[in-house]
C-alpha cells in the first residue's frame, strides 16, 4: 500500500501534536513502519524542543546582537547569505546537498557564542550572573545603563530579505524627545551615495500611504561597525516598529527601497 501523500508534510504537525486523534494514530503507524520517517521525526522533535526552550529574551538586545556579531566574525561561513527559497517551498535536493557539504562540524558556534557572551557580561560591568536567579530572568541592561531616559524600545532588528545581518536598537524617552541608539557589526558597508535610514513605522504603512517617520541616516564605519545615536520626535506608542532601509542619496524624504532589517520583539 502506498504511503499517504501527506505523510511527509504532516510530520511537522505530528511532532507539534496538532493532528486530530485519527490523523495522529495514522501518522504514528506510518512513522513506526518507516525507518526514514522515524529518523525525520527525531530530527524535527529536536528542533521543536529547542524552539520551545527559546523564550522571548529578557536580556538587553545589544548583548544578543553583539554575541551574534562575534559568532559571525569567527565563522566565515555564517556570512554566505544562504536562505531558503522565498516561495516557502521545499528546498531543492541539490540545494540541500550543497548546504550539507558546507556544513560546519561540531558546536563551534555555541562555544564562540558562549565565550563572547561571557566576555560581554564581564566587560559590560557584570550583573547578569550576580543578579541571576535560577530561572535566568533578572539581568543587567548594559545598553540601557549607558543611555539616559526611560526605555521604550529595546529590540533586535532582523533581516527582511536575504541580507545576513542584525542590529540592536534602544529607544529611550527623555525630556527633549527620544534618543535612539543603533548598534551592529553585520550591516554591510554601502557604496558611495547609498546610506542606511532608520524608520519608526506605524500600522497600515504602505509605499502609497506611508505611516513612518525617519529616525536618522548613517553609513557604517569602513570596518562594518555601526554605533550611532539619533534624536527624534517619533512616538513609539504610535509608530512601534523599527525598520532600516537602504536609501539612495536622492533627497527624497520617503522610503524608496524595501526594508533591510525590521524589529522583532520589544520590551
Amino acid at each position: 500500500m502506498p504511503e499517504h501523500p501527506d505523510t511527509h508534510t504532516d510530520l511537522g504537525a505530528y511532532v507539534l501534536g496538532r493532528l486530530s486523534p485519527v490523523e495522529h494514530a495514522r501518522m504514528a503507524r506510518q512513522v513506526s513502519a518507516s525507518a526514514v520517517a522515524r529518523e525525520k521525526e527525531r530530527e524535527l522533535r529536536e528542533v521543536v524542543t529547542l524552539l520551545r526552550q527559546t523564550t522571548p529574551s529578557d536580556l538587553p538586545a545589544g548583548l544578543e546582537a553583539r554575541t551574534l556579531a562575534a559568532v559571525a566574525a569567527a565563522e566565515p561561513l555564517a556570512g554566505t547569505g544562504e536562505t531558503d527559497p522565498a516561495s516557502g517551498a521545499a528546498p531543492a535536493a541539490d540545494e540541500l546537498a550543497g548546504r550539507r557539504a558546507r556544513r560546519r562540524v561540531g558546536p563551534l558556534s555555541l562555544r564562540v557564542a558562549a565565550a563572547a557572551l561571557a566576555a560581554l557580561i564581564v566587560g559590560g560591568g557584570g550583573g547578569l550572573l550576580a543578579g541571576e536567579d535560577s530561572g535566568g530572568g533578572q539581568t543587567t541592561a548594559t545598553l540601557a545603563q549607558a543611555q539616559p531616559g526611560v526605555t521604550e524600545i529595546d529590540t533586535v532588528l532582523v533581516p527582511e530579505g536575504k541580507v545576513r545581518a542584525n542590529a540592536a536598537a534602544l529607544v529611550t524617552k527623555v525630556d527633549s524627545g527620544r534618543i535612539i541608539r543603533i548598534q551592529s557589526k553585520t550591516l554591510p558597508v554601502l557604496p558611495k551615495g547609498v546610506y542606511y535610514e532608520l524608520w519608526f513605522v506605524g500600522p497600515g504603512d504602505t509605499p502609497d500611504k506611508p505611516n513612518r517617520i525617519s529616525g536618522g541616516t548613517w553609513h557604517p564605519d569602513p570596518d562594518g561597525t555601526t554605533d550611532v545615536t539619533f534624536r527624534a520626535a517619533a512616538d513609539p506608542s504610535k509608530l512601534p516598529v523599527l525598520e532600516i532601509t537602504r536609501e539612495p542619496g536622492d533627497g527624497s524624504p520617503q522610503a524608496t527601497l524595501p526594508g533591510v532589517l525590521r524589529s522583532t520583539r520589544s520590551r
Partner: protein, 78 residues
C-alpha cells in the same frame, strides 16, 4: 541552582536559535513565529495567512526542516 557556565551556554544557545529563525526565508520564519511565539493552532494560522490548513502543515514541515539545517550548521543539533 543553575551554574554560571550552564547559564551562559543556555543563553548563548537561545541567541543562536533565534538567529537561526531570523535567517529563514520570510514565509518559513513567519510560520515558526506564529507557531511558537504566538502559539497559534493550524486553523488560526491558516485564517491569519489566508491559506489552507494543508499549506500551513506543509509549510511548517519545510520550515522546521530548513531550521534544522540552520541549527546543524550552528552545531546545535547533530
Amino acid at each position: 541552582m543553575t551554574q554560571p557556565d550552564e547559564l551562559v551556554e543556555r543563553v548563548a544557545r537561545e541567541f543562536l536559535v533565534r538567529d537561526a529563525v531570523a535567517a529563514l526565508a520570510p514565509k518559513h520564519r513567519e510560520i515558526i513565529e506564529l507557531s511558537f511565539d504566538a502559539d497559534l493552532a493550524d486553523g488560526d494560522i491558516a485564517a491569519r495567512l489566508d491559506i489552507p490548513v494543508g499549506t500551513v502543515r506543509s509549510r511548517t514541515y519545510y520550515a522546521l526542516s530548513a531550521l534544522r539545517l540552520q541549527l546543524e550548521e550552528q552545531g546545535l543539533v547533530a
